[in-house]
Amino acid sequence: MFRTILMLGLMSRLLFADTIDTLLEEYQSTAENSLQTINEKIGHVVIYSQKEIRLMQYRTLNDILKELPLFNINTNQFGLTNYSLTGSKTTTSGFFRFFINDHEISSGYDQSTSLSWSDLPLDFVDHVEIYYGESSFSFGNETGIYFVRIYTKSALKEDGSEIATWFSSKTGHSQSITNSQIFENGWSYLLFANQEKIKKKTLYNQQKLTSNGTKHYLFADISNETSKINLGYTDITKGNYTGLALDATPNDGENISKDFFLNYTHFLLEDKSLKANFSFDVNERSYEEINDQGINITPLITLSMPWSIPKNFEEDLRFTKSNAYVSKSFESDKNALILALNVKHKTYDVLKRKSTNFLNQTNEIDHYNSFKRETISSVLLQESYQLKEDLLVVANAKIDYYDRNAYLKDTDEKLLRIGAIYTPTPHFGFKAFYTQTALPPSFYNVDYTKKNAVNLKSQRYNFYTLEAVYTEGNSKFGLTFDHVEIDDFLYQTPIGFVNIDHTIKTDGLIFDYEYSFSKRDKLHLNYYTSTLSEQINNSTKGGFIKLMGGYQKFDYFTSLIYRNGYDYLGLDIPDSFDVSLGATYHVTKDLSYSLKASNILNKSTQSLYFTNFGSNAFALDDNDRSITFSFKWVF
């Protein structure tokens, strides 16, 4: 007994010798774990903390997303990164909602982030949360089945400047600057600017496909305790890659996009339980392509008149989104209720659209159809109730009313979700959700609908998810199962979009294991497998092994990302093993140099491309083998 007390006393003295320093280190380390914004009630969440982003040398959002289970990341025909559900490959995807803080950044045209925001640099990002779940129940935004929340760094924690840059042996180079300051009156700002040169070149049929270009990003956050103003701008100018060319090798072309948003959030009442949010987005995009073998612009082609095929095409389009959201939360010991209203207005304008066909006739074309305005009004409710100390139940309901100016009928969608989180012991936890949601057709879906097809309908998703977590000591095991049924899936055939007339079913199982050797060193294993009721044209199994850590002034990591191979239309797509490793040397607390080798085995994932209205398919590597040097200086 005496010995125990003596030991505790000694330990306490030892700890107290530097208690304040230890506490400060602990405070920093806890902040770097980035758990302060997590919301377990809205889905199954994966967190990429500030610490992990630093140790793993994630430079862009895609470095993170390419690891995600039940998720495929490919290069689309425009040379842009695009996200697809397991087993499938889409050209533009609307299943995923992306947020920078409170602002949803998907395109007003096709619901995708590919063109403007897909390869977002992480120099101004604090942490990223990825949820398997429906965000619109909580944030009132448009529907989706996964969502990615990107939290930017806070001026309150930075209050300084940072210069970061990287140079890659293959993929280009980037320069970023961040500046932030806190004022005495409680206001603070954070400014971020980035320029990136993109290099992407591939050979197909002895012809060079290029997606070279330039990207710029500007972001500003101006905040105090109750208000948050976010401004974002990005532009990209790049080559077309395979573009829309019927032979997948355009003679010439260019893709330009400019995106701007303003988002204002204000919290009212003493307990900040009343939240108002207003936002405005404008996106201008231009597309030009010249191809002697023809260009596949679905709405302009009549297959019985081959001369109608364009060989020269250019268009300038403008899209706007205006959004207003107000929510009130009511909280008691056991109960949390959120009531909200959301109104979004979207417009689509054609500034210029011109096409020259095989008879050398040049036509000025306005809208392909009369659908150019849409207002979505939503009422939503989230109720969570602590039934027992270890059991929380969650229920969501949402009604969306779609008011369209023409072409598509006005519709309403009734969405719901129920779930429970059960934590019988501190080591065991279970989480389950049933979600019913609908994804309506976008302007893009309607523009590229199959000719003479009936009007497109909303895709209806029913999904069941179950997650079990067990922690023991320094280990954490996770198992997640999902079953998804999709009615009226919007599928892009080579001659346009159609609703699939039967139910598509997919099941997925994810196994996850983490072991923390210390606060800095971690091993992370993940494996998933899935089934799809349709013919697959993308990977259905995958996983990763990641080891990250540090020793004195060095950080290091190594990772292997696996995706299985598959056969499609006689093409044998091999397994992919993307191995990367890297190290960072911290010269001082403020200056670091990093080296990273990516895709060392040169066994990248591959993406499928088609020629002549889908009659032939071929595959190209998504990533090159490369070495990247980067440095970061904080001052």
Partner: protein, 151 residues
């Protein structure tokens, strides 16, 4: 006893890396902030501490009450931590009533504050003003001397 409690909590923190689900609002950062403020207040005052945080949130109240006697009135407090955008409370700073802030610029410009706990370049920092410590005839323990700046 508090020292033992703090030591055990620190030991626990060293190993508590994993969690199942974070169902309850996450309070670990506020908990660490409270512990640091407790260390600072204990080192600065040689008497029991009564803390006043203007406009204290319910989460802060829940956490800080484990370490301090809290008060809603500035006059009854001997340690005042201003961590929000607030006008200075209407009670004077005296030798027995200390003002602390989480804003470095406020510390520089307002002589009522004798120190600050704030973030800079993603790192938490503590700074005490030597002049103001002298004015209040305060002596801090040896392990706090590294935080004293010459202004």
């Amino acid at each position: 006893m508090k020292a033992l409690y703090l030591s055990l909590t620190l030991l626990h923190l060293c190993y508590a890396e994993h969690y199942t689900f974070l169902v309850q609002p996450y309070s670990k950062e506020i908990e660490l902030e409270a512990k640091i403020i407790y260390e600072i207040a204990s080192a600065s005052l040689k008497e029991d501490i009564t803390l006043f945080i203007p406009n204290i949130s319910s989460m802060e109240e829940k956490v800080y009450t484990n370490y301090f006697t809290l008060t809603q009135e500035c006059e009854k407090a001997n340690f005042i931590f201003i961590n929000k955008t607030e006008e200075m409370p209407p009670c004077p700073s005296t030798k027995k009533r200390l003002f602390f802030t989480n804003n470095y610029r406020k510390l520089l410009s307002n002589k009522h504050f004798f120190g600050a706990l704030f973030w800079n370049k993603s790192r938490p920092n503590i700074v005490f003003s030597q002049k103001r410590l002298e004015e209040k005839a305060m002596t801090l323990p040896q392990n706090f001397h590294q935080f004293i700046e010459n202004f």
